[in-house]
């Protein structure tokens, strides 16, 4: 079976210390201290504009932090962004698929970009297609697939190199409930093999599937822990109430 890259098994998957990102006068992320354990399924929640995507972009090396430090799978985001890129997978809201390529061509392309060649690459492609249930439509153009298929294909592309950690930025937006359930089964399968998962979502049922949650509001981390811990912390009946309460507060502060 597959195991994540052994690049740096020691230590947590993500550690940030006073991570900060500003765009001009706008503070997108402020003093973020976060720790995610290896093999954990961690959910990052918050209203739009709370800093979720900016946080993911800093951790994946897409953006340089303004100040503070972050280590991802044992590498410094400032100095070792290339090493991070080799050891993580990233799936954006837009999926990043080539619509004029078929399923198998998309996977082959990303596997190749991650340095897989020859027989090794082809056997990995077959494995991914089998595990994510893509074989049936291998020769279909990605542009003609439905949301659920696109989502699984995007995950196949993002994990072609067996990354130690996978970042999923609102992966199930616009996907039907059955496909969402199937997707989460795959996420748990990855986690069971030791892959760390960081996922952002707006769906409360998805939030409740995460082992731990972080709540972002206006760039600040204001809640952290298991679902139960977060609910207790805010003294509200459910995660959904916490979310709505936060959104209300944010909008109040912005007005």
């Amino acid at each position: 079976m597959t195991s994540p890259s052994q690049s740096s098994v020691l230590g947590p998957a993500v550690v940030t210390r006073q991570l900060r990102k500003t765009f001009g006068h706008l503070v997108a992320v402020e003093s973020l201290d976060l720790e995610i354990k290896r093999g954990e399924v961690f959910g990052l929640l918050g209203p739009n504009g709370s800093g979720k995507t900016t946080t993911i972009r800093m951790l994946t090396g897409l953006m340089q932090p303004t100040s503070g430090d972050a280590m991802v799978v044992g590498f410094d985001v400032r100095r070792d962004s290339e090493a991070i890129r080799r050891n993580i997978g990233y799936m954006s809201q837009k999926f990043g698929l080539y619509e004029d390529l078929t399923i198998v061509e998309n996977i082959r392309f990303y596997a190749g970009v991650y340095g897989l060649i020859g027989a090794e690459r082809e056997s990995r492609i077959a494995e991914l297609m089998d595990e994510l249930g893509l074989t049936e439509r291998a020769a279909q153009l990605a542009g003609t697939l439905s949301g659920g298929w696109k989502q699984r294909l995007a995950l196949a592309c993002a994990t072609a190199h067996r990354p130690a950690m996978v970042f999923l930025d609102e992966p199930t937006a616009g996907v039907d409930p059955a496909a969402r359930r199937r997707f989460w089964e795959i996420i748990y399968m990855l986690a069971s093999r030791g892959t760390t998962i960081l996922v952002t979502t707006h769906y409360m049922d998805e939030a409740e599937r995460c082992q731990r949650l972080g709540f972002l509001s206006r760039g600040h981390l204001i809640g952290l822990g298991t679902v139960q811990e977060v609910v207790d912390q805010f003294k509200l009946p459910s995660i959904e109430d916490v979310f709505i309460e936060l959104q209300r507060r944010d909008e109040g502060a912005a007005a």
Binding site: R57, T60, G61, L62, M63, Q64, E82, R85, R86, I88, Y90, S92, Q93, K94, F95, G96, L97, Y98, E99, D100, L101, E105, R108, F109, Y110, A111, G112, V113, Y114, G115, I117, C157
Partner: protein, 377 residues
């Protein structure tokens, strides 16, 4: 890791492979890329040719002598001028041109034949409606040539005449019959390469930005170099294919001379292709949408068409226009292409332009690599 192993694993290969699959699948664009050269060649080659020939012309022959009639005949025989009628006086000539009835006039003054007999320079005037510079340039050069050739024939002397018979001061270019198709073919090669390399390449990368695949690529270990090479090499090959199509059709349809060394020609295309790809990459690095990229490429292509010497001779341009032309790679490429294709010049005549082109290639690629960053900010 050995070098060969690293080369095999380079993310450049999957990029290249992907681009070829996408290009093959986008039949419409591919057909356009190959079809456009043929269409442009036919358009420019035929349209420009008929326009330059058969310029409607009125004649004001005030000399009424065999010599003056002979001169008018010679003019008409160039087929640049199509004599539509005789004018009655200068006022009539002016009106004919102003109304657009004629685009040129040949005026032979009363003293033409007597001047010839006395061995003086006989003056004849050719008036050309310069509103259409292409036609007029051809008409002027035809007139000047006829003037020069008519000397011995009209005077009946075989000794070369020192002073020109028809006093039109125009320097005829190296295309003595004013066969514009010859002149235009190297130009089309340059313009077409500019259009394909700059606008299609620019749009191809911006499309990845728009669709979110660039963001996806940025989080992979693919290097900037692999990304840019994989993206541009297929277009460079298309460029060479276009050049070949134009050369073959140009030879078949217009019998353009291929005087120079073809190997040298293909070699000299490379720096221009690289410079144009560099421009395309730069455009893609500074724009966010395909529409923006298209607009910016158009903005770049217009001066190339107007100021590079593709349509109008640069020598006739005002100085600022010449400076702009001097900043365009196409200007030097045209010199090189016309030199090699029409004049058959060798490397030592055009090395200066070749060096400048290479300089453009290096600078433009360096600029776009600098500008193209592997982040999304």
């Amino acid at each position: 890791m050995s070098l060969i192993h690293r080369l095999r694993r380079a993310s450049f290969w999957p990029m290249l492979r992907k681009e070829f699959i996408q290009m093959r699948r986008d039949r419409f664009t591919l057909a356009m890329l190959i079809g456009i050269p043929a269409i442009q060649l036919a358009l420019f080659g035929y349209a420009v040719q008929t326009e330059v020939r058969n310029v409607p012309t009125v004649v004001l022959d005030q000399s009424h002598t065999p010599q003056s009639r002979r001169l008018v005949d010679m003019m008409a025989n160039t087929r640049n001028f199509r004599i539509i009628r005789n004018a009655t006086n200068r006022e009539d000539v002016r009106n004919a041109i102003e109304r657009g009835e004629a685009a040129a006039a040949i005026i032979v003054p009363p003293e033409f034949a007597t001047d010839l007999k006395r061995g003086h320079t006989a003056q004849a005037q050719v008036i050309v409606d310069a509103a259409d510079p292409l036609s007029s340039a051809a008409a002027i050069s035809a007139a000047a040539l006829t003037g020069a050739r008519s000397g011995p024939e009209l005077t009946g002397r075989s000794t070369p005449v020192v002073a020109p018979v028809v006093d039109v001061r125009v320097r005829p270019w190296y295309n003595p019959e004013s066969r514009s198709s010859h002149y235009i073919v190297p130009g089309i090669i340059g313009i077409l390469l500019t259009m394909t390399m700059v606008s299609i390449t620019g749009a191809a990368i911006v499309r990845e930005r728009e669709r979110g695949t660039l963001e996806q690529l940025v989080v992979t270990p693919i290097g900037k170099t692999s990304l840019m090479l994989g993206k541009t090499i297929p277009f460079a090959l298309v460029g060479y294919l276009q050049v070949t199509v134009i050369l073959v059709l140009g030879k078949l349809l217009f019998d353009i001379p291929l005087r120079g060394n073809l190997l040298l020609l293909y070699l000299l295309i490379a720096p221009f292709v690289v410079a144009s790809l560099g421009t395309g990459l730069f455009i893609s690095a500074v724009t966010k949408t395909q529409v923006q990229a298209m607009q910016l490429s158009f903005f770049f292509i217009m001066p190339n068409i107007l100021l590079s010497g593709f349509m109008f001779p640069r020598a006739a341009m005002p100085e600022p226009a010449q400076w702009v032309g001097a900043a365009l790679p196409l200007t030097y490429f045209l010199t090189v292409m016309r030199g090699v294709l029409l004049k058959g010049v060798a490397m030592n005549d055009i090395w200066r332009d070749a060096v400048i082109l290479t300089g453009f290639a290096v600078v433009l690629v360096a600029m776009s690599v600098r500008k193209f960053s592997k982040t999304v900010e």
